[in-house]
C-alpha cells in the first residue's frame, strides 16, 4: 500500500488503573490489577461481581474546555473526552489547532451507551401483561415518555462519543464509528490509518471507548459463560494463558490516539511517538459463537498487516532478532481465545513464534471490549518508547499446551522496535496493527 507515512503524535487513556498515560503504564509494568468488587450496580448475586472500573476520581470536566457543552455526556462520552483531551494536548494540536477542520477526521470504535436501566425496567414491568405475555404499547409509552430522559436516551447511540469529540476538537472531516465487538478500536485505528494513507485527511483522532459494566451487559456475558466467575480475590480472576483460566474480566474506559501524516506532523514541528506501518483485517465467517478453530482469520489479519509493513514473518532482522519484538495479545483469558490465538501466532511466525514475547494487559486492566484495541495499541507505543514489556499477570500455572513466551508475572526490559497488536471480536472480525519505532 502506498501513500504518506502515518505517525502517532498523541495518546491518552482512561482506565481502571488510572487516567494518565505514564501513571497507568507504571502500574502495568508493576503488574498491578484494577479489579475490585463491582460498584456501578448491585452485582452481589451475579455470577460475576467484580470488574476493573474507572475509579471515582476521574472527572471528565477537568479535561475539557467547557463542560457545559458536554452536559449530556454518558459514560462512554466522558471516558472518550478524558482520553482524547490528553492525546490532543500531547500532540500539540490543543495549543495550535489545525488550520482546516475539514482535514481533521475521527474514526472511533465506541460501544453502545449505558441503558437507563432502572427506568427501562420500571417501564417494561409497568406495561407488562403476564396473561398475554406482552408489553402494552400505550401503557409503555405513557410511562417511558414520562420517566426517561431525552438526552440520556440519545446518548446511547454509539456515535455519540464521536459527536462529543467532534465538537470539542472542531473536527469536520470524515467521521466514523465502527462497532465490531472486541476488535472495534483496532479496526478504527486501522481504518483511520487507511484514510490518512489515501490522503482524505491530515489528522485523525482514533480509538475506542466502552463500558459494559451494567446489569444487562454482565447478564449477557454471564449467560454466554464468557466471564470469569472465580471466587476469592478479584485481582486473580483474569488469567490469560493460564491452565486455570476461566473467562475474561470486564474493564471499562477509553484509549484515544492522534494519528497524522508524517508530512503534517513535521510541518508543525510535532514529535512522532511511533509509526503505524501495517493494518490487516479479516473475517472468520465461521460460527456466531465460536472462533475458527485453527485461527485462520487471525493469521490472515496478522499476515496482511505484516505484508503492508514490509515484514517477512520468517526472517530475523539485521540484529538477529525475530522480525517483531513484541505482540500485544488479544489474550482474553477464555479457554478458546488463548488457545486459538497461540495457534495463529505459530501459524504466522513458525519457528520464530517462541522467541517473540507476547503478553495480555487484560490480566490487569480487564477487557475494555470495544476500547480494548486502543489501549493495547498504546501499550505497544510505550513498549517501544521505554524498552519495557508489560507482563501477563496471574500466569502461575502455565497451560502445557500453550508454549509461547507470555511474559509471565513480571515486566521485562527488551529493545523493541516493531510490535503487532491483535484483537478479535465476537462475530468473527480479526484486526492487527503493526507499530514501529519512528525513524526519520
Amino acid at each position: 500500500m502506498s501513500g504518506p507515512r502515518v505517525v502517532v503524535t498523541g495518546m491518552g487513556w482512561v482506565t481502571g488503573l488510572g487516567h494518565s498515560v505514564d501513571s497507568v503504564w507504571k502500574r502495568l509494568l508493576n503488574a498491578e490489577s484494577g479489579m475490585e468488587p463491582t460498584t456501578r450496580f448491585d452485582a452481589r448475586t451475579f455470577p460475576t461481581s467484580f470488574a476493573a472500573e474507572v475509579k471515582k476520581d476521574f472527572d471528565f470536566r477537568g479535561f475539557v474546555k467547557d463542560p457545559a457543552i458536554h452536559a449530556s455526556a454518558g459514560l462512554n462520552s466522558q471516558f472518550a473526552l478524558g482520553a482524547a483531551s490528553q492525546a490532543w494536548k500531547q500532540s500539540g494540536l490543543a495549543a495550535t489547532p489545525p488550520k482546516d477542520p475539514r482535514r481533521v477526521g475521527l474514526y472511533l470504535g465506541a460501544g453502545e451507551g449505558v441503558l437507563d436501566f432502572d427506568n427501562y425496567v420500571a417501564t417494561m414491568l409497568h406495561a407488562w401483561d403476564g396473561a398475554t405475555g406482552k408489553v402494552d404499547g400505550v401503557k409503555w409509552a405513557a410511562r417511558g415518555l414520562a420517566c426517561m430522559d431525552r438526552l440520556k436516551e440519545i446518548e446511547q447511540e454509539p456515535n455519540m462519543p464521536l459527536a462529543h469529540l467532534a465538537r470539542e476538537f472542531n473536527c469536520r472531516g470524515p467521521a466514523y464509528n465502527c462497532l465490531t465487538a472486541c476488535a472495534a478500536s483496532t479496526q478504527a485505528i486501522g481504518e483511520a490509518f487507511s484514510i490518512l494513507r489515501r490522503g482524505d485527511a491530515d489528522v485523525m483522532i482514533s480509538g475506542g471507548t466502552h463500558t459494559m459494566i451494567h446489569p444487562l451487559g454482565v447478564t449477557g456475558f454471564n449467560r454466554l459463560t464468557a466471564l470469569s466467575e472465580r471466587k476469592g480475590d478479584p485481582t486473580e480472576a483474569s488469567r490469560p494463558f493460564s491452565v486455570d483460566r476461566g473467562g475474561f474480566v470486564m474493564g471499562e474506559g477509553s484509549g484515544m490516539v492522534v494519528l497524522e501524516t508524517l508530512e503534517h506532523a513535521m510541518a508543525r514541528g510535532a514529535t512522532p511517538l511511533a509509526e503505524v506501518t501495517g493494518y490487516g483485517s479479516s473475517c472468520d465467517a465461521y460460527r456466531i459463537t465460536d472462533i475458527q478453530p485453527q485461527g485462520r482469520g487471525a493469521a490472515v489479519a496478522m499476515l496482511e498487516a505484516l505484508r503492508q509493513a514490509g515484514i517477512d514473518p520468517h526472517a530475523r532482522d539485521a540484529q538477529g532478532r525475530p522480525p517483531i519484538q513484541y505482540i500485544s495479545a488479544h489474550g482474553t483469558g477464555t479457554k478458546e481465545n488463548d488457545s486459538i490465538e497461540t495457534k495463529a501466532v505459530k501459524a504466522v511466525f513458525g519457528d520464530l513464534a517462541k522467541s517473540i514475547p507476547m503478553s495480555s494487559i487484560k490480566s490487569m486492566m480487564g477487557h475494555l471490549i470495544a476500547a480494548a484495541g486502543a489501549v493495547e495499541f498504546m501499550t505497544c507505543v510505550l513498549a517501544i518508547r521505554d524498552g519495557m514489556l508489560p507482563p501477563t499477570r496471574n500466569l502461575k500455572n502455565p497451560d502445557p499446551e500453550l508454549d509461547l513466551d507470555y511474559v509471565p508475572n513480571q515486566a521485562r526490559a527488551a529493545k523493541v522496535d516493531v510490535c503487532i497488536s491483535n484483537n478479535f471480536g465476537f462475530g468473527g472480525q480479526n484486526d492487527s496493527l503493526v507499530i514501529a519505532r519512528f525513524r526519520a
Binding site: 448475586t45 426517561m148 440519545i154 447511540e157 456515535n159 459527536a163 465538537r167 456466531i288
Partner: protein, 445 residues
C-alpha cells in the same frame, strides 16, 4: 494527493422495505407513489406522538426462506435487524448472479474466492425484543412488583437464552451475512445512525480500491419499529405529530411547508460492489458505477445533533467531497436522493446544503424522496436510497413523488413517475450525531 483507485461497480442490489424484499417490489410501489406508512402492527403506538410506522408485513418476508437449509436454526438468534440484513444480502447476491456458499454448490465452486469477499454493514442501536426480555425480568420482582436485582443476578437471568446478547450486538448483521456467504475478507460494522449505510458503502469502495478485496457485500439495515426506537425518535424531535384519524399516507411530507415530522421505519439493503476488472473477468454485469464517495462531520449546536445546524454546511461538505471524488461538477448531477425524512429542522438543513452545492439549479434538480414510502429506517436508509438510485440509472425513470412541496426552493412537489434518463445521481444521508455521507452513482450505459 495519492488516490489508490480501482474502479468500483455495483453488480447487485438488494433493498428491503415495506413494499417487500427486492428492487421489483419497491420499484413498483415507488412508480405508483404508494405509501408504506400504516398503523403499527407489532404494538399499539397510539401513546406516541405518531401512531404510524413504515413496516414490512410478515407475509412479504420470511427470513427462513432465504437462508440455506443448514442455517435455518440460526434464525432463532436473529433480531429483526439481522433478519433484514440477511434477506437483503440474499437478494443482492441473487441479482449479482453470484454463487456463494449459501447456494451450497454441489462441487463447492463459488464465483468469488471467499478471502477476496469483504462485508461492510451499517447497523443501529438494536433494541432488545421487549416481550422476550420483560418475560424474563418479570420473574424477578419484589412483593410490591418492583424489580429485584438480587433475584435477577441469582436466578432470574437464567430465563434468558444463553445466546440472548448475540441477537443485539450491532456486528451480528455482518456476522450472519459473512457466515451465509462465506465472506472472509475485511468486515466492518459502521454505527453512525442514518449515515451508516453510505459510510459502509464508502468503506467497501475504499477497501476494494486499495485491493484488500475484489467484492464486498455492503449496505445497512435497521428496524426502528420497536418501543425504544420510537421513543428515541420522539425524543430526538424526528417523530411526526399525527393522530390516529389522520391519513397515514399523508403524514410524511419531505421538504414541505406543512411538514410535521417523520415516521419510524424498518428496512435497508445490501449491494454487491466489485472491482470493475473483477466483475468484467467473471462476466458480471455492472448495473452502475460507484463513482464517488465523501464523508464529513457537521457542527452540532447541541453537541448530540438532535438540533441540526441549519446552514447544512457539514452535509454539503460530504456532497462536495463525493463529487470531487467522482471527478464530476455539480452541474453534471441529474437527480438527488436526499434523506428528507419530513422533520422540519433537518429538512431545512438538507435544503440549505442542496442550495449551496447546486446554486440556481437547486429549484429544478429532481429530488427522489423515499421517506413517504419507507419511513426512517435509520442505518438502513442509505442502502435503500443507493439501490433506488441504481434503478433510476438502469431504467431511465424517476419514480413518483408525493406529499412534498417547493416551499424550501427545491424540486420536491408531487409529480408522477417519468422518463428522465439520468446519467449521474447523488445520494446522501445526514445522521443524528452529525456524521454525513454521500455517494455518486453513474450510469454504465
Amino acid at each position: 494527493m495519492p488516490r489508490q483507485n480501482r474502479r468500483v461497480v455495483i453488480t447487485g442490489i438488494g433493498p428491503i422495505a415495506p413494499a417487500g424484499l427486492g428492487i421489483d417490489a419497491l420499484w413498483a410501489a415507488l412508480l405508483e407513489g404508494r405509501s408504506g406508512v400504516a398503523p403499527c402492527a407489532s404494538f399499539d403506538a397510539a401513546g406516541f406522538s405518531c401512531p404510524f410506522v413504515a413496516q414490512l408485513p410478515a407475509d412479504r418476508f420470511d427470513v427462513r426462506q432465504v437462508v440455506p437449509k443448514s442455517y435455518r436454526k440460526a434464525t432463532k438468534v436473529m433480531s429483526r435487524d439481522i433478519e433484514l440484513a440477511v434477506g437483503a444480502a440474499h437478494e443482492a447476491v441473487r441479482t449479482a448472479g453470484l454463487v456463494t456458499k449459501a447456494h451450497e454448490p454441489a462441487d463447492g465452486t463459488v464465483t468469488i474466492a471467499p478471502d477476496r469477499m469483504g462485508c461492510h454493514i451499517g447497523a443501529g442501536l438494536i433494541a432488545a425484543e421487549e416481550n422476550e426480555l420483560t418475560a424474563a425480568l418479570a420473574t424477578s420482582r419484589k412483593a410490591d412488583g418492583s424489580f429485584d436485582i438480587a433475584a435477577w443476578g441469582a436466578t432470574g437471568m437464567q430465563n434468558l437464552t444463553p445466546l440472548w446478547m448475540l441477537k443485539y450486538l450491532p456486528n451480528m448483521l455482518a456476522c450472519h451475512v459473512t457466515i451465509c456467504h462465506d465472506c472472509q475478507g475485511p468486515s466492518n460494522t459502521i454505527t453512525c445512525g442514518e449515515a451508516s449505510a453510505l459510510l459502509s458503502i464508502g468503506e467497501s469502495m475504499r477497501v476494494i480500491g486499495r485491493g484488500a478485496a475484489d467484492a464486498c457485500l455492503s449496505g445497512g439495515a435497521e428496524s426502528k419499529v420497536n418501543l425504544m426506537a420510537v421513543l428515541r425518535q420522539q425524543f430526538a424531535g424526528r417523530l411526526a405529530k399525527a393522530g390516529v384519524g389522520d391519513d397515514p399516507s399523508k403524514v410524511v411530507r419531505p421538504f414541505a411547508g406543512d411538514a410535521i415530522g417523520g415516521v419510524p421505519g424498518e428496512g435497508g439493503g445490501i449491494l454487491v460492489l466489485e472491482a470493475a476488472e473483477s466483475a468484467q473477468a467473471r462476466g458480471g454485469a455492472a448495473l452502475a458505477e460507484l463513482a464517488g464517495f465523501g464523508a464529513s462531520q457537521s457542527f452540532c449546536p447541541d453537541t448530540v445533533g438532535a438540533d441540526p445546524c441549519r446552514d447544512g454546511e457539514g452535509i454539503s461538505d460530504a456532497m462536495l467531497a463525493a463529487l470531487d471524488d467522482a471527478g464530476l461538477k455539480a452541474g453534471e448531477i441529474d437527480a438527488v436522493v436526499p434523506f428528507g425524512c419530513g422533520a422540519v429542522a433537518l429538512d431545512a438543513a438538507e435544503a440549505a446544503a442542496i442550495r449551496r452545492v447546486f446554486g440556481d439549479r437547486a429549484a429544478k434538480l429532481p429530488l427522489v424522496t423515499l421517506a413517504p414510502a419507507i419511513g426512517s429506517c435509520g442505518a438502513g436508509f442509505g442502502a435503500v436510497a443507493a439501490s433506488v438510485a441504481v434503478q433510476c440509472l438502469r431504467t431511465g425513470m424517476l419514480p413518483a413523488r408525493v406529499n412534498g412541496d417547493a416551499s424550501l426552493g427545491l424540486d420536491a412537489a408531487p409529480v408522477a413517475a417519468r422518463k428522465a434518463d439520468p446519467k449521474a445521481i447523488l445520494v446522501y444521508t445526514p445522521s443524528l450525531g452529525g456524521q454525513n455521507a454521500a455517494i455518486v452513482v453513474r450510469s454504465v450505459a
